[in-house]
Symmetry: C2
Subunit: 368 residues, 2 copies
């Protein structure tokens, strides 16, 4: 990357050139990145000034470019040497997250990471990277002791306490407060869509599975939603904008959130989804719109159970599936609890744990 100073009618502009791209650097953008210790706290890398208060018309009054620094002077009298490497790291950050890769049932992906390996730095990084790409990994060869899941979870983030407890037992319970605690099949769904915020990442650790059923299913919503968008673009819009009600009731809790199934940001980009056909309730809207909505969610629901998209596998004792709860739908086939026992332990961690680990690792590599 190199920098160029442009002076047009007395207006100074710095332009960065990288890989054939020409990127002007606005004065406000530069001023905000002031690197001197009176502006930026050395311990915390946090700013000591408030750039929201800068003049809208703040501009450069002088600039000089040398090999490894830019000497800049601004209209508010601030002046400093900006290391070129600092600016370059903002323009082309070294620690971007890996791209998310859509997958289907026949994608060749290494899902399985041995827990002893994941305790090494390199094995840990490999697992984190795969998780960020595909939204799912399976940890194998972990201890079969109850409570082990805490240890597995803490390797990737902070455990999120919810109405189900810090860790919860998935097995047949009498007086169940959730269908997960009955031996029935569960279609593809995300957990706790009625919470704000929803759990970001779920872990399910198998302690025992003596039944022939109870197989685990996983589907990548990114692949299915992309297909829906081709098949029914108008329907995609409805799923992203019409809120449904997600609700959960038991003795202690009454949780409700009105939100669209597809979560998008203000620019319409897909952030994730909230999906559980046993917990959602249609709103009272015009019948024609409701029918168009139903057409779209029916298409999506068929994609979610299409064998072309569905990964189906057996969790054996010592296996732990870890998946992005706002991207990957999970489910299970039914089982006969007369035939044998099935006992999983589950917990949630926040979504940004693996992302932070990945960035820190890349950052620390950069410094070596």
């Amino acid at each position: 990357m190199h920098f160029e100073k442009q002076n047009r009618d007395g207006k100074i502009t710095i332009i960065a050139h990288a890989n054939g791209n020409r990127q002007p650097l606005p004065a406000l953008w530069l001023r905000e990145r002031a690197p001197t210790p009176d502006q930026l706290d050395g311990d915390t890398h946090q700013r000591l000034i408030n750039p929201h208060q800068f003049d809208v018309d703040l501009h450069l009054t002088a600039a000089e470019i040398t090999g490894d620094a830019l000497y800049l002077e601004f209209s508010d009298a601030y002046q400093a040497a900006y290391p070129s490497a600092l600016l370059a790291s903002w323009i082309e950050p070294p620690a971007r997250l890996p791209e998310k890769i859509q997958w289907r049932a026949d994608s060749h992906i290494n899902w399985r990471f041995s827990w002893p390996d994941v305790q090494t730095a390199a094995g840990h990084f490999a697992a984190v990277e795969q998780f960020l790409k595909h939204g799912l990994i399976i940890l194998t060869d972990s201890p079969r002791r109850p409570g082990t899941i805490r240890q597995l979870a803490k390797r990737f983030g902070y455990i999120r306490d919810t109405n189900f407890g810090q860790i919860f037992d998935v097995r047949v319970k009498t007086a169940a407060n959730d269908l997960a605690y009955k031996p029935i099949a569960l279609g593809p769904h995300t957990d706790n869509p009625y919470r704000e915020p929803t759990p970001g990442i779920q872990l399910l650790h198998c302690l025992r599975n003596d039944t022939s059923g109870g197989e685990t299913t996983m589907v990548d919503s990114l692949a299915c939603v992309a297909r829906l968008q081709q098949l029914d673009p108008e329907g995609y819009q409805l799923l992203a904008t019409v809120p449904v009600r997600f609700a959960f009731q038991d003795r202690d809790d009454s949780l409700e959130v009105d939100r669209p199934i597809l979560a998008t940001d203000a620019r319409g980009q897909l952030l994730g989804l909230h999906y559980s056909p046993r917990l959602d309730w249609l709103p009272l809207i015009d019948e024609d719109r409701l029918k168009a909505y139903q057409r779209a969610r029916k298409t999506l629901s068929a994609l979610f159970v299409d064998p072309a998209y569905e990964l189906r596998f057996r969790l054996n004792p010592g296996d732990c599936a870890m998946f992005d709860n706002n991207r990957i739908l999970h489910g299970r086939t039914g089982y006969d609890d007369g035939e044998g026992r099935r006992h999983l332990q589950g917990c949630y961690i926040d979504r940004d744990g693996p992302e932070s680990l990945y960035r820190r690792w890349r950052r620390d590599q950069q410094k070596l």
Copy 2:
């Protein structure tokens, strides 16, 4: 509320009448609310069928209305008696949350709730209701022992563990990893905008404050953002759509999120905000747009420190402020740590805890 059956050209429609409103109930909407035990699990109130798979053209084939029930028959052969009260509770839910009320410095609001009172059911409900309306309450007369905050927090929700720990000490620290741990003034901000999800609710419990400074400031962003929307509607749009980068770095963590300052849903409704001028970084966009953006955030930043909006008070030992971290901006004035000690403990809980308490209370009242 009463119900009417309409039959036009063989198409049967049920219409609900309430308070002069005429609300048609689409067949899909009704079918999804099937009340019989083969459709809805009695223990969990969760659905046993998947309504996403219903025919788009599902319709009523017969309907009969009596005093307290509607006998309905659908084109998929399902038939059942729907209690009128069940439908009414969907159309006019009894347990809506209280409206959020914008406040300013001169609003007459009872902020203070005595902790012994909050341990009674009625005192608890009063505190929860005020919190949901105004996004802020101050618990008073609580024990001054370190760790008390756990007890206070658990009365309202589940404690959220983060990189700062389950509970964190806010006092002067050497080798601080955050500016909060230096005795400097902190302008109005929300916590951890670089996390996904951000902490929903924050509690700050005062153990000791022997300094004359270190006053707490609180501002209602709803009031300020509404004002911004009047002053600069285009700027409001920019703040809701242009993502900035929020970042936090220390030895263990490297957290980053790109998101707009104003969080809106797919329909443009304001959900909350993420605001911390010491942690946010402008994106590289066209300079004219960047200037329009700067104008808007400068206006907003001036509103946030305008005494007309700012509540300023002293937290005394035993006081605990609890506030919605995505609605209320908090800050503090600087203090002289030579003059005396200031020691707060803080923690986060999820946003939906008080909402669930409120709904449960209303629901249980309904049943009495």
